[in-house]
């Protein structure tokens, strides 16, 4: 998948930096990784974005790591904090990771918002959670935590458990303070109000509003019903999932991942367990891969069906969602038969699965696959071919491919612009290269196309699932590896050499070798990646979850300007996000 090796890329980038040297680091995920001096960051980013042949146009992720309690992998260039940039060039199909070391006493570096606009929220997040300042950022304010919060939660010094902090209660006075802090003040957001105070209406759409799919807030400046400015505000669904990753064993964190994109079910487990498997060097059996693909695609359908229904509902069509819930119920029954749970099965394991497939699973799935096409045809008539739906969605909230990449859009939202990039095709993982399926594309990049792409993806997922059913390989459902959790148990009662690792692996949890790895999957809503750093412990040293919905919401102001309120609702509905996926 990585066509250019680290030395080649180094020789391409080094000339742009006259005086300093890029240090390389080897990571478990084979992504070329460079350490750059703080003062050279902007030069390097600028070169990567503009000067290179086939430039790195897409800032995939931007995050930080608190290195203050590291025990292993002590590199000379490492300091107290590391800021990590993950860049992607679609033309090369190549990623590069850039790291900048920061000192505890000088936690500031240059902002890259002028190079990649979507860095805006990522830098705010790093500021909020690590207290690292970005010079030149247009509006560096907290994004996840309330503005009244003290401290920066992802620092190792910040408590992680409620028992480590004082008792919390929300008195009326405190509530008033919090409410006041939430009140919108245009100046805080870098806006200078024009005209008389009563010229425009300022309206809070959300966090408590039926169309924002959770607790999401958009502050609107309205002229009549027309939107002058839209400012999205997130963080109302923040549960500190990344912090929890540092306090749960590698194994016991799996159920938390289910609840990141809570419509994605095991689709969330997939990048997490695959990242650990990369770190641990576990190769899973064929059967595990196929079952994982099958379950992940089932959840893609479940998520897309819900999107389809709510999208129709957001533009006023009441019925489709109910029909789709019937289909989802049937599919959930299958998920329940296989995993024992419905929406959040937490069914994938490090090195395998929780259990093998039950008897008769293939019959259930085949029945559903035979039942569904007629329903899909009905929905086409009801929604996609409905002229009122077309009037409401065609040309609404449109953006082109360049804008989409600039703002970090991935998944169906990117393919709706006609850009053919599906991770399952371009960088096959989990055995996707063995399956026969198409990548649906749109042409206009508007709300209608975003819906149409997802509808087509449902059909493709059904194709993949059918292939899984027809060609399910035989074999074990977990890898024969010492770090597989829970480990295979057959021989534990025979010899002490397997009994002890089994006991430790089950009681303490596995100790994953030190290192770092990122694993990305084409999730239901776009690219979902887990970037795990292990310090050779039973718990993760840093769990970074790069979710697709986060940058998608950041883009709303670009789409919303000049829209009517009703258009904004259609646009939001077509993005397909869940707030848990945004706020984590």
């Amino acid at each position: 998948m990585q066509q250019v090796s680290t030395p080649d890329l180094l020789s391409e980038l080094q000339p742009w930096l006259a005086n300093s040297v890029l240090l390389t680091e080897t990571t478990a995920d084979q992504i070329p990784t460079f350490w750059v001096a703080k003062k050279d960051l902007l030069t390097l980013c600028d070169a990567a974005r503009y000067k290179l042949d086939k430039p790195f146009t897409f800032l995939f992720d931007l995050t930080a790591i608190d290195e203050t309690t590291r025990q292993h992998m002590v590199l000379p260039q490492r300091q107290d904090f590391t800021v990590v940039y993950l860049l992607r060039s679609y033309e090369r199909n190549q990623d590069v990771r850039i790291k900048v070391a920061l000192d505890q006493n000088n936690k500031a570096l240059a902002s890259v918002t002028s190079i990649w606009p979507n860095a805006n929220w990522y830098e705010r997040e790093v500021w909020d959670l690590f207290g690292i300042k970005f010079d030149g950022h247009p509006c560096l304010r907290r994004i996840m935590m309330p503005t009244t919060w003290l401290g920066h939660p992802l620092c190792k010094t910040h408590p992680a458990r409620a028992t480590e902090m004082g008792e919390y209660s929300l008195s009326d006075d405190l509530r008033d303070i919090e409410q006041q802090a939430l009140k919108f003040n245009p100046a805080d957001w870098g806006l200078t109000p024009q005209g008389a105070p009563d010229e425009f209406m300022w309206l809070n759409l959300g966090p408590n509003h039926p169309s924002v799919h959770g607790v999401f807030r958009i502050m609107l400046q309205l002229d009549g019903e027309e939107i002058v400015e839209a400012i999205p505000d997130i963080g109302y669904h923040h549960r500190g999932a990344e912090k929890m990753g540092e306090r749960q064993s590698w194994h016991s964190y799996i159920p938390y991942t289910d609840r990141i994109d809570y419509l994605g079910g095991v689709m969330n487990n997939l990048p997490y367990v695959m990242a650990i498997e990369k770190l641990a060097g576990i190769e899973v059996p064929e059967r595990v891969k196929v079952i994982r693909v099958m379950m992940a695609e089932i959840f893609r359908i479940l998520s897309h069906l819900l999107f389809y229904g709510t999208f129709a509902q957001d533009i006023g069509s009441l019925s489709p969602i109910f029909y789709m819930f019937v289909d989802r119920e049937k599919l959930f029954a299958i998920v329940e038969a296989i995993t024992g749970a419905r929406m959040h099965p937490a069914w994938f394991r490090i090195g395998g699965l929780a259990a093998d497939l039950p008897k008769g699973w293939d019959k259930m799935i085949t029945e559903w696959l035979d039942y569904m096409p007629a329903r899909m045809a009905d929905y086409d008539q009801m929604v996609m071919q409905n002229s009122l739906v077309k009037k409401r969605a065609v040309g609404i909230g449109a953006y082109d491919t360049a804008t989409a990449i600039e703002w970090g859009v991935t998944g169906p939202g990117l393919r709706a612009t006609g850009f053919d990039w599906d991770l399952r095709k371009k960088r096959p993982y989990c055995g996707y290269e063995n399956f026969d399926f198409d990548v649906p594309l749109g042409t206009r990049g508007d709300s209608y196309d975003r819906c149409a792409v997802r509808v087509a993806e449902i059909r493709q997922s059904m194709r993949i699932i059918r292939q899984c059913v027809q060609h399910m390989p035989e074999g074990p459902y977990k890898a024969d590896h010492v770090l597989t959790t829970p480990p295979p148990k057959e021989r534990t009662m025979q010899d002490i050499d397997t009994l002890i690792p089994h006991f430790l692996g089950v009681s303490w949890g596995p100790v994953i070798p030190a290192g770092e790895a990122m694993m990305e999957v084409e999730a239901t809503k776009g690219s979902n990646a887990y970037y795990l750093t292990s310090d050779a412990s039973t718990m993760s040293y840093r769990t970074r979850i790069r979710t697709p919905s986060f940058p998608h919401l950041q883009m709303i102001p670009v789409m919303a300007k000049g829209q009517m309120i009703a258009d904004l609702i259609a646009t939001i509905g077509s993005i397909d996000f869940v707030m848990a996926d945004v706020d984590r």
């Binding site: 209406m201 309206l203 509003h209 039926p210 169309s211 009549g224 019903e225 129709a312 509902q313 957001d314 533009i315 006023g316 069509s317 009441l318 019925s319 109910f322 029909y323 019937v326 009801m382 409905n386 009122l388 739906v389 009037k391 409401r392 009517m564 309120i565 009703a566 258009d567 609702i569």
Partner: protein
């Protein structure tokens, strides 16, 4: 002077209409459930038939809240005006040859006047609430209602020309040979569209478009005042169905069965049709709705009127 019979009939009418509208709420929810592959309310009483009664009791025991930031008198009056205006229109609807409050000479005009009154309720509610969502909803309601009001009247003029009367019972009797839905099909369709728009039902429910404006003009309303808006909507749907029945579907006319049964049957089928519309259609955007009204329906209504007059003068009807 009114006779005792008349007084009793009027009292009965008032006493029946509101509970009927409440029943209609239950009926619509069940029917929607049927259309949408689900149950709908089925717990209170047989088939959930007492659901509305339970709701009413609950609502009566709710805090009758008037927002301190609102314009108090207007805030209280708005739902009252709405419900009153709709209920008053029923006074001229002839349900059978002798079951009507008043067989007025100007019945049709009275109906149009009363439906125009209803817009005040929505606009005043939106304004008095002093809430931004309510204001947006109220504005939408005002623009929508007045736009559709213009051709609502025009669409009925064809019928007036054919029957030569504003009196609703005369209009019904004039349909002995042929229901007006046939010669006045365009008028029928236009009136139905305007009627749905006037009663703010999907696809014309923009003033209270839940997914856009939370609850629109009645965002700040709760308890009994909200219930009055809610009932008003269902009464409105009943009224429009009855008016269509009267003006275009031959009212109480029909063989074998008693007149009132015919009248109610026709009304009920129309109501079912409205519920079906709600289940089937998405909501157009506000400006699309207004453009449709002004650019297409209004000219069509006027042309329909001219054509009717032309045929009446020179045709063979």
């Amino acid at each position: 002077m009114p006779t005792l019979d008349l007084v009793l009939m009027i009292a009965a009418m008032v006493a029946i209409l509101v509970p009927t509208a409440a029943m209609l709420v239950w009926f619509e929810r069940r029917l929607l459930g049927f259309f949408q592959q689900r149950y709908g309310p089925n717990r209170v009483g047989y088939f959930g038939i007492l659901q509305s009664l339970a709701d009413l009791i609950k609502i009566l025991f709710k805090h009758d809240w008037i927002p301190p930031f609102a314009d108090r008198p207007v805030f209280v009056l708005a739902p009252l005006i709405g419900a009153l205006a709709v209920l008053m229109s029923f006074a001229v609807v002839p349900m059978s040859p002798n079951l009507m409050v008043s067989d007025s000479n100007i019945g049709l005009l009275f109906f149009l006047a009363m439906t125009s009154m209803a817009v005040y309720s929505v606009v005043l509610a939106g304004w008095a609430s002093n809430n931004k969502y309510a204001l947006l909803g109220g504005m939408r309601a005002a623009a929508q209602t007045i736009s559709y009001e213009v051709f609502m009247g025009v669409s009925l003029l064809g019928v007036v020309i054919l029957s030569g009367s504003f009196k609703l019972s005369d209009i019904v009797l004039a349909q002995q040979n042929m229901w007006y839905v046939i010669p006045q099909f365009l008028g029928f369709v236009i009136f139905m569209i305007a009627g749905i728009a006037e009663s703010h039902r999907l696809p014309f429910d923009l003033p209270e478009a839940e997914t856009e404006l939370t609850a629109g003009f009645h965002t700040e309303y709760s308890g009994i005042k909200f219930a009055l808006f809610f009932l008003g909507e269902y009464l409105g749907m009943m009224l429009i169905s009855m008016m269509i029945t009267t003006v275009f579907l031959g009212g109480w006319l029909g063989p074998w069965l008693p007149p009132i049964v015919w009248f109610l049957l026709k009304t009920l089928s129309l109501i079912c049709f409205f519920v079906l519309l709600r289940a089937a259609l998405p909501r157009p955007r506000f400006d699309q709705l207004l453009e449709l009204g002004w650019k297409w329906i209004l000219p069509l209504a006027l042309l329909n009127l001219v054509a009717t007059a032309f045929v009446k003068l020179w045709g063979d009807f």
